[in-house]
């Protein structure tokens, strides 16, 4: 039998809302207000009703979750809000028991009719989607087609300029997404494509990029591109003890890597790993950089200790812990 659920914190509430596809009735309550007690009694009764088996009843202490209360503009208790898939359907301010029962009945019946069997994932708001997209990579190009197959002359030219200047960039094909195509024009107040972004800021279209390239300013307008060596240096120094391996610590993807992880776990020393399968550039680059042809590779304080054979030997001789501790 269903009950009125008391959820104590913001995360719990968000999860409950996310996981539920049916109607959710949320009571913003306060223990010091007698009217809230009355509402809770009614909600508990409604929760027991088998007719509302698909309805979730939640009680929140409004003052414990100010973030949520603000989101739903709660200014007084009791207030009930009616939500389905994160969308606010209706609200009821004050302790109006008759109205509460009526609203639950109405909204619950709507859900039975209108809820499709496969609930759609909650839709991301367009602006946050655009913001996320222009920040996908440090340099992002919104173009027609993709860099290897541009679908318009302007897009082709801008790709060519970027390539000539060795600029690394991510791209988005606006022809594949009409919502983004139209939305981004408004969002960035720029009516045409291609559009080039640097760190989420619009740099401009083809004409601007062309001028910047001609005047030699393009590079300075783009985020400094880290050289591979610098990147590798950063990575091997990311933690005092670093392992470059195939797969992740929890899921090694080769026997050697697996053994390495097992040995290191035994020592109880803290270490970080990098999955070389996820980054071909690092995978190839680090071999040259450290003059070591295979993986896994163990680093302490940025210095290469060796591969599995060496790790094993060190373990057997009892030196491993000393070397690893050196990094702590």
């Amino acid at each position: 039998m269903a009950t009125l659920k008391e959820i104590p914190d913001v995360t719990g509430f968000r999860n409950a809302i996310k996981e539920t596809t049916g109607l959710v009735v949320v009571h913003f309550s306060a223990s010091w207000a007698p009217q809230c007690g009355q509402m809770n009694e009614v909600l508990s009764e409604l929760a027991k009703d088998p007719g509302y088996i698909n309805v979730t009843f939640i009680k929140l202490e409004a003052e414990d979750v100010p973030e949520i209360s603000e989101e739903y503009s709660i200014s007084a208790v009791p207030t009930c809000v009616f939500v389905r898939r994160g969308k606010l359907l209706d609200r009821l301010d004050g302790a109006n028991v008759a109205e509460l029962t009526k609203k639950v009945k109405l909204l619950a019946s709507q859900s039975d009719v209108s809820v499709p069997s496969m609930p759609e994932p909650p839709k991301e708001d367009l602006n946050s989607r655009l913001k996320r997209l222009i920040n996908t990579e440090e340099v992002m190009l919104f173009m027609k087609g993709n860099p290897s197959e541009p679908k318009c002359g302007f897009s082709r030219q801008i790709v060519q300029i970027l390539n000539e200047n060795n600029v690394k960039f991510g791209s988005f094909d606006i022809l594949a997404d009409e919502e983004v195509r139209q939305g981004l024009k408004t969002y960035s107040n720029w009516p045409t494509y291609p559009q080039l972004y640097s760190k989420g800021e619009l740099l401009g279209g083809l004409d601007i990029v062309k001028e910047l390239a001609e005047s030699g300013e393009l590079k300075s307008q783009l985020p400094a591109q880290q050289s591979l060596d610098d990147r590798l240096k950063g990575l091997i120094n990311k933690a005092p003890v670093m392992v470059f391996m195939k797969g992740e610590k929890a899921v090694p993807r080769c026997g050697f890597s697996k053994q390495t992880v097992a040995i290191l776990n035994d020592t109880g020393i803290d270490y970080d790993t990098f999955d070389i399968l996820s980054d071909e550039e690092v995978r190839q680059g680090l071999k040259t950089f450290s003059n070591w042809p295979t993986y896994p590779q163990l680093y302490v304080k940025g210095e290469l200790v060796g591969g599995l054979d060496i790790i094993k030997e060190l373990q057997e001789s009892g030196e491993l812990l000393t070397i690893l501790k050196d990094g702590q």
Binding site: T192, D207, I208, E211, L212
Partner: protein, 84 residues
């Protein structure tokens, strides 16, 4: 009716007090491709992005019809330098 370079010039002259304008229809008269050089005191102190935005705003209606519009935006001072 296709857009003509004359139409664009008139608009830019009026809105931006453009001191020099050169607009070339590169579409052989079908009004879909233009190359423009625009010199306006209103560009003074504005980065390229703002200058292009300014032109885009002035030509908002026309740009909906134009397929390809490329522009160079200069201040009178820059223009003079380029001439000499």
């Amino acid at each position: 009716m296709p857009i003509t370079s004359q139409q664009l010039e008139e608009k830019l002259k009026a809105e931006l007090q453009a001191s020099h304008l050169k607009i070339v229809d590169t579409s052989d008269g079908c009004g879909s491709k233009f190359q423009a050089v625009i010199v306006s005191p209103q560009f003074e102190g504005k980065p390229l992005l703002q200058r292009h935005r300014l032109v885009n705003t002035v030509l908002e209606a026309e740009l909906k019809e134009i397929h390809a519009f490329s522009m160079k935006t200069l201040t009178p001072e820059q223009w003079q330098k380029e001439q000499s």
